[in-house]
């Protein structure tokens, strides 16, 4: 596939009628799956992280986490823009999309408790480590428009990982805070294990050279990184194979109740105002 719009139509069910696009080639479906996984993760992760704006423990931590949330929204926009080049609209990608069509990992959709700063730290650590591996595996993708953008996203991930690690280090040095980190690991690790679960078109993604590394290899590398790191901070990480996994796996479009609530909340105004199209402000103010 050369990146031309070749009509990916295993589109998420859109509530609004749209002109039919040509029947897709497998490469288009595979590219769509790859991009939606990237975009959905970033969008939903950012949507949750912005909940900490104004509520973070200090002004400095507020600014730092807001930076990360904005980077992730920016990455989501990169990937959704590419999907728009494939023929989707922003409404179809986000606003009018059936919540049961989203493919983000359940890790990023979970609601935060008011005191859940430890959750935010562990979640960003687990997520950003996976994100880095995932982007690195796309550096030499055969999909040229994607290759152009991976570098930008990757450049920002270093900061995200450093941010998460420095928070782990600080919180782990305090008994009470470490207990909270442990609780977050217990809650989040079972969800994080589905980060690398394959989707329906995984074989085509590989066959087309969109991603060189296999999900199984990436998952193994992710475990080799996060398990020793967390253990190094005195945290107990369960044996992956022994973990009781949540029913919802995210990648297969099954989600927790938290997702339904979140999706209903962030689409409410869009449904109500019913503008012709979502405002685009590139170069103006966004």
């Amino acid at each position: 596939m050369n990146g031309d719009a070749d009509g990916v139509t295993d589109a998420p069910a859109a509530a609004s009628p749209r002109p039919r696009r040509p029947r897709p080639r497998p490469a288009g479906r595979a590219g769509g799956e790859l991009l939606f996984r990237l975009a959905d993760d970033e969008f939903v992760h950012a949507e949750r992280l912005t909940e900490w704006q104004i509520y973070a423990p200090t002004l400095e931590s507020d600014l730092a986490l807001a930076n990360i949330a904005q980077d992730e929204f920016g990455h989501a926009r990169l990937w959704y823009d590419l999907l728009q080049e494939l023929g989707y609209t922003e409404e179809e990608c986000i606003w009018r999309r059936d919540p049961d069509d989203w493919t983000h990992a359940t890790l990023v959709e979970l609601a935060f408790a008011d005191d859940g700063w430890g959750d935010a730290v562990v979640r960003t650590y687990l997520y950003d480590t996976a994100e880095r591996l995932r982007l690195e595996a796309l550096v030499d993708t055969s999909y040229a428009p994607l290759a152009d953008r991976v570098g930008k996203a990757l450049a920002e991930e270093d900061y995200h990982r450093d941010h998460a690690v420095s928070w782990l280090e600080r919180l782990a040095s305090d008994d009470d805070a470490r207990a909270r980190l442990q609780a977050a690991v217990d809650d989040l690790f079972p969800h994080a294990l589905s980060l690398f679960a394959p989707g329906a078109h995984e074989d085509d993604i590989r066959a087309n050279g969109f991603r060189r590394a296999s999900l199984a290899d990436m998952r193994a590398e992710w475990l080799d990184t996060v398990v020793p790191t967390l253990e190094g901070y005195g945290l107990v990480v369960p044996e992956p194979d022994d973990v009781e996994r949540p029913a919802a796996r995210g990648r297969d479009r099954t989600h927790t109740d938290d997702w339904g609530d979140l999706q209903a909340a962030f689409t409410a105004t869009h449904r109500e105002v019913d503008f012709d199209r979502p405002a685009r402000l590139r170069g103006e103010e966004a």
Binding site: Q53, I54, A66, Q70, Y80, T269, V273, L281, R282, A286
Partner: protein, 312 residues
């Protein structure tokens, strides 16, 4: 320096941390800057609601950036306030959390809809712009420096708010009507943003005399009305009949202040309206929920491993 000397020398960016300022000046400047910093924080409690509501990805990004700017402004302003040596930032944040800290009247009203976004981001921020532009000439130099950066960013916020208003007023009839209703609810609060007429303002005379303020409340409201009434009308909003707006002999605009509810304004000024309790309660609850993080940071910084730079 005694007060008389301060009054004689008062002018734009006349005084700074190297000057030996009288306590009365330092306290008045602290009160003013702390109020401003608190308002940036508490404005964020409204604006953050709009991030979740934003009906496009670009709007969502613009909104999170705005909320982040507000925290950045608060950080700058608390630092400028600290240069007066009256209160530390922690003391000011504690006061905000326990209900002693004062902030703008408009931020005592909780919000829950996107229609309110332009009321805050266009009209309230537009009013704030009028005030902040004049504060670039305040006599306390660190405050004036903070205003340089704040005013630059506020310009983007007001454009963001204006763009939201324009879009809503080009929407369906129902959307336009909801926006008009919301405007009517907010309009009196926005007019009260500038405070009461000059002679009723407790701290006004002294602040003017020592150059902390350079323009009166009345002049600010007048300048706001001259600029924003035509803008509101341009986008199709109707200015409510009450409070009455009239044109003075010199062609400038003013509001019949007797048409505004000053009991409500003064209740808010005492942090005692229902909205005050809700907003300050939210601040207190959310800050309390993550007190454990601040405690662990204190432990970390007190330990051998911690370095002050690590505290972000």
């Amino acid at each position: 320096m005694d007060i008389e000397t301060v009054k004689e020398r008062a002018g734009p960016r006349q005084f700074g941390p190297n000057d030996d300022m009288p306590e009365e000046y330092r306290k008045a400047a602290t009160r003013m800057i702390q109020f401003h910093a608190n308002s940036e924080v508490m404005g964020g409690y409204l604006d953050k609601e709009f991030t979740r509501h934003a009906p496009s990805l670009d709007r969502k990004l613009a909104n999170t950036a705005k909320v982040q700017d507000e925290i950045g402004h608060a950080q700058l302003l608390y630092r400028a306030a600290e240069t007066l040596g009256v209160k530390t930032r922690d003391e000011m944040l504690d006061e905000l959390q326990n209900g002693e800290g004062k902030f703008l009247n408009c931020f005592h009203y909780p919000v829950d809809s996107w229609y309110e976004a332009p009321m805050i981001d266009f009209f309230v921020d537009g009013g704030a712009m009028r005030r902040q532009a004049t504060l670039k000439s305040t006599s306390w130099t660190p405050y004036a420096h903070a205003m340089d950066k704040v005013c630059f960013e506020e310009g983007f916020h007001v454009k963001h708010g204006e763009s939201i208003l324009r879009e809503l007023m080009r929407g369906s009839k129902a959307t336009q009507e909801r926006t008009q209703e919301t405007f009517e609810e907010w309009w009196p609060r926005i007019l009260q943003f500038f405070g009461p007429t000059n002679d009723q303002s407790t701290h006004n005379d002294f602040a003017m005399d020592v150059g902390l303020k350079t323009v009166t409340n009345d002049e600010l409201r007048n300048s706001f009305l001259n600029m924003y009434v035509p803008k509101a009308e341009k986008y199709g909003l109707e200015i409510p009949e009450s409070p009455r707006i009239f044109e003075r002999d010199d062609g400038t605009m003013a509001v019949r202040e007797s048409d505004l509810d000053w009991d409500e304004f003064w209740t808010i000024a005492k942090n005692d309206s229902d909205g005050s309790h809700e907003q300050i309660g939210s601040r207190a609850r959310r800050q309390e929920a993550v007190a454990w993080v601040r405690d662990s940071l204190d432990n970390w910084e007190g330990s051998a491993a911690g370095t002050p730079q690590a505290a972000d």
